[in-house]
């Protein structure tokens, strides 16, 4: 980041619970006004990282700064951050209004500012008219909005969201994704959100940090993460991909284990063992024997065809390896199981990932 002061700056942070290392020596800087996603499978340490930013867990080692101020050991009520909890954690004995007011009251903010800010927040999440209801009288989506308003009304410098859409059904989830993005643009606050859903992370965030087993594996824009995964885990975790075992020939070629030489940029020294990630939708099927003007290709035989409605997935056996090819927007199926075909792709479609 070129930003002079990062919104959140994590330096060498480790969190141990007894013997278990939940977060293992993480360095991360999140910029001011950024929509940042922490992505990873359950148990990867993403929630613990978020909780450390919130102050709900304290780091075992390392330094944590919010806008330059060290907060690593500060209690949650002394940090300029607020959290939207996974199951919202709305106070069941309070009305919507009382829930939203809570943070302001705790900081001693009085009327008329209090009611003005509550009204503003309520309007922002389109909850006007529901102030006197209790959380159990709201739908999941409405509860989510209350949780958002309850956090945003405090005008935090950073908003933390722990799997905010996890409890919603698919349709509502997609709606809320758009709303959250719009809301973030509107308030201009840094959003840090935790999710295990890679599509959600890709669709919503400006940058993504991929975590696994307590480590931060890669940080980058959705495009970087998807097209240039830094490791086999990232390539496999984000979207579907074909992983082909290979070794490096030169800076621009690698040899697959079945003997085929393909073009791929790499900085790994020649002779190293690597893997090549080929996205199913970035490869084409061609009649057997036709070669592309540029890029690389492999010959094989169609093994299986799966019709998905919006796409057709071909499983092609090329020697010992199996390659998944996803064809979208094509009428009919030009190839049948048993056909000899050529799998081709453009230069740059194949990404070399370290082991």
């Amino acid at each position: 980041m070129t930003d002079p002061v990062a919104a959140v700056e994590i330096e060498g942070v480790t969190k141990r619970f007894g013997e278990v290392v939940a977060v293992d020596n993480i360095d991360l800087a999140i910029g001011d006004g950024e929509f940042f996603a922490l992505l990873g499978p359950s148990g990867c340490g993403k929630t613990t990282t978020l909780r450390m930013i919130a102050g709900l867990d304290l780091p075992t080692e390392g330094s944590l700064r919010i806008f330059g101020e060290e907060v690593g050991m500060a209690p949650p009520d002394r940090r300029p951050v607020n959290t939207v909890f996974q199951a919202y954690a709305l106070f069941p004995h309070m009305t919507v209004r009382q829930n939203i007011e809570f943070g302001l009251r705790m900081r001693g903010i009085k009327n008329p500012e209090l009611s003005q800010r509550v009204a503003e927040a309520t309007g922002m999440v389109r909850l006007a008219g529901m102030e006197e209801r209790r959380p159990d009288q709201l739908s999941g989506g409405q509860q989510q909005r209350v949780a958002l308003a309850r956090a945003l009304v405090n005008q935090p410098k950073v908003l933390l969201l722990d799997e905010p859409l996890g409890a919603l059904d698919l349709k509502l989830r997609q709606e809320m994704q758009q709303e959250l993005k719009a809301l973030q643009r509107e308030v201009g606050i840094t959003f840090v959100f935790v999710t295990h859903d890679q599509e959600e992370a890709l669709a919503m965030s400006e940058r993504i940090g991929v975590m696994s087993e307590g480590r931060l594996l890669q940080v980058g824009t959705p495009r970087e993460i998807y097209d240039r995964p830094a490791s086999r885990f990232v390539a496999d975790f984000i979207g579907r991909t074909n992983i082909l075992e290979a070794s490096v020939e030169s800076a621009s070629t690698v040899r697959l284990d079945n003997g085929a030489l393909i073009e791929a940029e790499t900085s790994t020294p020649a002779g190293s063992r690597v893997a090549v990630s080929l996205r199913p939708e970035r490869v084409r099927l061609q009649p057997h024997g036709t070669t592309a003007a540029e890029g690389s290709s492999l010959d094989g035989e169609v093994r299986d065809i799966t019709y998905l409605g919006h796409a057709v997935v071909y499983e092609v056996a090329a020697g010992p390896v199996s390659i998944e090819v996803r064809v979208e927007g094509e009428v009919g199926e030009p190839f049948a199981a048993g056909d000899e075909v050529t799998v081709a792709w453009d230069r740059g479609a194949a990404a070399v990932v370290a082991d």
């Binding site: 709900l56 959290t83 199951a87 900081r107 159990d136 405090n154």
Partner: protein, 284 residues
């Protein structure tokens, strides 16, 4: 093989069970009805009906020994209930929330007063007070058995009951609510006051109600640890029954019965009002 499979009981069995249910009902309530009816008996003979009268209620309430016993009972019940609500809740919180040296041992023994027989508890407390007085008296002040020892003893067993009830409530408490409060700038104390306590309050209130009932009810322990002038109502009733059942005792018992029914109805009404209040807003 057709038609509906007969899963219910036969008609004869059903009728038999209904008769049995009425018998149980009668067994439970006939003595109460007899007690209440005879408390309005104008005759001074307990078992002979001499017409309707409030006479014995008047006599009971004019009897200084009885009014004093009622006063003692009420004071002891209120003090022990309030104190054990606070202490019992504190113990439940400590056991549910914190790991400390001796937690397991305390967790196992806090319920002891519920299980051990009243008479054991009574002897235990009496011996304890005797030893404690010996110790305190060596510094000068003189303590004797009285209303304060009765109250202390009631607190001793009531803490356990409150603790059990509150603990059950705490076990299903969602701790992220407390984290949410902390995240929203509440201090530890504010979090307890605004979030934890209101949410466990039904448990605390139920424990308190139980404590109140147990305290008003206790005979054995109170009889052992009370001194002159600190006789509770149940102890008075128990000791005067040795001189024979009097219509006066019927009147007192009916009053106690009415008071405990009122207590239960009151708490039920409170719960129902809360439930219907939230239902009403749901409709809106």
């Amino acid at each position: 093989m057709s038609g509906v499979v007969e899963v219910g009981l036969g008609r004869r069995t059903r009728r038999g069970l209904a008769v049995w249910a009425w018998a149980v009902f009668a067994f439970l309530y006939v003595p109460i009805v007899v007690l209440v009816v005879f408390s309005f008996n104008a005759s001074s003979r307990v078992n002979i009906w001499g017409g309707f009268s409030f006479q014995w209620y008047g006599e009971a309430l004019r009897n200084d020994v009885i009014t004093s016993a009622i006063r003692v009972s009420l004071i002891v019940a209120l003090v022990s209930t309030v104190v054990s609500m606070v202490l019992g809740t504190a113990v439940a919180l400590a056991l549910a929330r914190y790991r400390f040296r001796g937690r397991r041992a305390l967790d196992g023994t806090v319920y002891l007063p519920i299980v051990i027989p009243d008479i054991t508890m009574a002897v235990m407390l009496l011996v304890f007070f005797a030893e404690a007085f010996k110790f305190i008296d060596s510094f000068g002040p003189r303590f004797t058995l009285g209303i304060s020892t009765v109250a202390l003893s009631h607190i001793a067993f009531n803490i356990s009951f409150v603790c059990v009830v509150v603990r059950a409530r705490l076990d299903q408490f969602d701790r992220t609510l407390e984290e949410a409060a902390r995240d929203l700038y509440a201090t530890g104390w504010q979090t307890f006051r605004r979030v934890t306590l209101p949410l466990i309050m039904p448990g605390v209130a139920a424990g308190g109600l139980l404590a109140l009932t147990l305290s008003l009810d206790d005979v054995v322990i109170s009889a052992f640890v009370s001194g002159p002038g600190s006789t509770t109502l149940p102890v008075y009733v128990f000791s005067s029954i040795r001189r024979g059942v009097t219509p006066e005792l019927n009147a007192i018992s009916t009053l106690m019965l009415t008071a405990s029914i009122a207590l239960v109805l009151g708490s039920l009404a409170l719960q129902r009002r809360r439930a219907s209040a939230s239902q009403q807003t749901q409709v809106l």
